[in-house]
């Protein structure tokens, strides 16, 4: 018998584990209006960024689909979009696409409102009404098959691949194989050295070739800088934790994906498909950017499997942080949701570690706040491809 959870039903047939009202900026010049409105209106999440204007098309599409991903995320009740003037990432179009999913979507424009202070009032008024409507919605029982599991590393060290990534992989595959859910991991440059074995897990030759091509493309992008990538990958804190090369980091990082079949590799910020299985999103290894991408793809929650401990988190998609490094669990208890170090240096095994994590997941999807949610910690960073113009 499948386990159930308590979630929020949406008109587009998705089920949320949270009921957020988001206030989204389409350009840097609307960011302050968004932040000020979110300070005033309780239970709103501001989404701001430095993009949305003077970008080339590949970045415009990426920025737009990432913002739309958050506005129409399963955990999102509705969104107020704030634009500055006429941007290539169009606020009115975004609000219309939001309403097409059955969610409330309002569009505010600073120029049309005759200035930022008027726009602030309009944004507050729209958000105030939206959060009161959202607060009436009740959680209802829902099947676990509705859920999508995000996976990311954070400040990996040599314990990551030996311990916490195993529990993370086991929990992800429990959701997929026992409950019919989905999983998504990312960070393509962190496949370096393990891409051969990873690509052999693809469900068909097209997906296999696509994985190899995208890994090669990242290596070419990094080589084109003219420098050794060491220092950026692995990072100084990775190296402090004992990781020597990007290959060693990658081989450990891939442990968190388990060894089951890979359904597809998808573009940054694009929607994770509905069919049950494990997916890859093509993102950099930069955690804030990869987590932002997976959140835009619609993962309900994310496991942040960390070595040295990390603040990495997301406001819309709750992040559960797990570590198997006993020193990290002791050093940053406020950033450790699940400590499984007893399975690395104590008498417990990885089945115990998996059960510890699964139990936390069951609580969080029905409403238990994560460590980062409880203190309002989050980051938002859309990966950019090309230059500003």
């Amino acid at each position: 018998m499948s386990e159930q959870f308590l979630g929020y039903e949406r008109d587009d047939d998705s089920i949320g584990i949270r009921n957020h009202t988001v206030i989204i900026s389409t350009a840097p010049y609307a960011n302050d209006t968004v932040k000020r409105a979110a300070d005033i209106v309780e239970n709103t999440i501001p989404i701001t960024h430095p993009l949305g204007r003077c970008q080339t098309k590949p970045d415009v599409f990426q920025t737009y689909r990432t913002l739309l991903g958050y506005a129409t995320h399963p955990n999102t009740y509705g969104a107020v979009v704030v634009a500055h003037a006429g941007e290539i990432v169009d606020g009115d179009e975004l609000a219309e696409d939001i309403r097409d999913t059955g969610r409330p979507g309002e569009s505010i424009n600073v120029h049309r409102q005759k200035g930022a202070m008027n726009a602030l009032t309009a944004t507050v008024n729209a958000a105030q009404e939206m959060v009161r409507d959202a607060s009436k919605q009740k959680r209802v029982p829902a099947d676990m098959s509705n859920l999508t599991f995000g996976i990311n590393c954070a400040t990996s060290d040599t314990t990551s691949g030996l311990c916490q990534h195993k529990a993370t992989a086991n929990a992800a595959w429990r959701l997929i194989t026992d409950h019919g859910g989905r999983g998504c991991f990312a960070e393509t440059p962190e496949f370096f050295g393990g891409e051969g074995e990873l690509s052999e897990r693809a469900v068909n030759d097209n997906v296999r070739d696509e994985i190899l091509e995208r890994v090669e493309h990242w290596d070419e992008r990094l080589q084109a800088t003219g420098y050794d990538v060491r220092g950026a990958q692995p990072t100084p804190d990775n190296m402090d934790g004992g990781l020597t090369t990007i290959e060693e980091k990658s081989l450990g990082a891939l442990v968190k994906s388990g060894d089951g079949p890979i359904e597809d590799i998808i573009d940054y910020g694009s929607k994770i498909p509905d069919n049950s299985g494990m997916y890859i999103m093509d993102t950099p290894g930069h955690g804030a950017e990869s987590v932002t991408g997976i959140g835009a793809g619609g993962a309900h929650f994310m496991i942040i499997s960390t070595g040295q401990g990390h603040t990495l988190s997301n406001a819309v998609m709750p992040t559960i942080k797990i570590t198997g490094n006993p020193n990290s669990a002791e050093r940053v208890p406020g950033q450790t949701d699940v400590d499984v170090s007893e399975s690395l240096v104590g008498d417990e095994d990885f089945d115990w570690a998996t059960d510890q994590l699964w139990s936390e997941i069951i609580d969080v999807v029905s409403g238990k706040l994560t460590m980062s949610e409880a203190v309002g910690e989050s980051q938002f960073a859309i990966h950019r491809i090309g230059p500003s113009t």
Binding site: T159, F192, E197, T225, G242, T245, E247
Partner: protein
């Protein structure tokens, strides 16, 4: 008695990971492929850091998870610490790219 706080992932790895702080001059007993071996540690190895369990020649592949994690940049003896000072990566090496047309920005 075999050391509990050392991890060797695959039997053909030539490095091991310390899961406690190990002091230089300790002798560590390890079991690989049912063979017991004693490694004399030559320098302090911090928690999570690695040491060689076989001789590794300059330029030879350093293996963990049964796969390459890079190449040795000097001759390494069993018990020596393994890290960025004696292993280099084979990926993201813009500094070695033959057809590098990029004008490197100043540091």
């Amino acid at each position: 008695m075999a050391e509990k706080y050392v991890a060797i992932v695959e039997s053909n790895d030539n490095v091991a990971t310390a899961l406690r702080d190990i002091e230089g001059r300790e002798s560590i007993e390890l079991v690989v492929n049912d063979q017991t071996m004693n490694i004399d540690i030559t320098e302090d190895i911090g928690f999570g850091h690695k040491f060689a369990i076989q001789p590794i020649d300059n330029g030879e592949t350093v293996r963990k998870y049964g796969k390459s994690i890079g190449n040795a940049t000097e001759d390494i003896d069993p018990g020596d610490r393994i890290h960025v000072h004696n292993v280099e990566s084979n990926y993201g090496r813009g500094d070695l790219a033959d057809d590098n047309q990029v004008q490197a920005v100043s540091e």
